[in-house]
Subunit: 193 residues, 2 copies
Amino acid sequence: MNLSPLTQAFVLHFGEMGSRWGINRTVGQIYALLYIAAEPLCADDIVEKLGVSRSNVSMGLRELQAWNLVLLKHLPSDRRDFFTTPDDVWQILRTLAEERKKREVDPTLSVLREILMQKPADEGERHAQARMAEMHGLIEQLTTWYDDVKKLETDRLAMLLGLGARVTKILEVKDRIVSIGRQRAPTEKGRAP
Amino acid sequence: MNLSPLTQAFVLHFGEMGSRWGINRTVGQIYALLYIAAEPLCADDIVEKLGVSRSNVSMGLRELQAWNLVLLKHLPSDRRDFFTTPDDVWQILRTLAEERKKREVDPTLSVLREILMQKPADEGERHAQARMAEMHGLIEQLTTWYDDVKKLETDRLAMLLGLGARVTKILEVKDRIVSIGRQRAPTEKGRAP
DNA sequence: CTGAATTTTCAGTAATTTCTGAAATAGACG
DNA sequence: CGTCTATTTCAGAAATTACTGAAAATTCAG
């Protein structure tokens, strides 16, 4: 591995973390390298810096492209492919969330839904289905929230994060306002949209 | 594998998902089995239902205990260990979040901090550090938010989720309220805590 | 077209991870 | 203490996953 110590520490860490996720060490290292590189890199740059085979780099880049985590660039009068990561870390986070949802959450929801369609054969299956329904409900609540907040522009999202639990304080204020509103229309039962 | 088709589909899916995370197939299957079981199971129950070796189950249970995902129960006048998962799916989610943070996020933050302490040797390292600082900032924002909302009771948290992006609408209301307040004290510069 | 540069594919090998069976350990109970 | 039951440990086998080198495919300038 042909990297400065500072860079190497980062790249090695992402290699480790990569194996802890579904992606392998080399893929993690390639990503880390592209993330911190000042300029787009071509495959041979990566081969040289990481000391792995050309074919391994090719496969790793392909996987990163499948994850939408890298951008392909072309320099004028150079046939080689150059790669970068998006500049905006929030955008990277969004992509990561979206891809993990697609790979992990959606298939799980679909399996749960399928099983919940079936009729339980006995008390054990009845209980199992009830548990699965609980899990399904939780995941659906989370993904509904996610689908909702992912539409926010980044600065709004950051603001929301910054508020954290203090949002509930504001909600209390809102509840007071709403309840004052209710005093004028005490028969109303539903909530405001 | 000695399970009803309905149960088996669930268990097999969690086995697959397990390998997609850091945990292995058997561990995923054991967890799934305990999650849907109506009663606590002992190791030999699991051996029988999953058709894997006793030692494999022992190791799998140990890993699940390390993740705080299973509870150990003892029945009166029975020396065997029985295992369950917590009933409350929100509690399970919290545990999962906490453990993954501990294993994935905290080490990353610590590596980033360590690298950011060093002095960059050249322009490349300067740029690399700037990128790492961006990543560090993002992760810190996310974990600050997480540390904040994890303290909420479950019903509050569920309410927040239910609101989703609509929270920003309420924030706009709040902003108006605050700005009305400002008209009385126009020199104030900071924000309310 | 040709051919040089670049990238991809893939069969085989290496490395890693998972799983097992046998043996060791732990502890309850007479 | 010895025995019986339950659990853990661990060395090696089995399975899976990652990696490589060689060959094939693709791309594009001339």
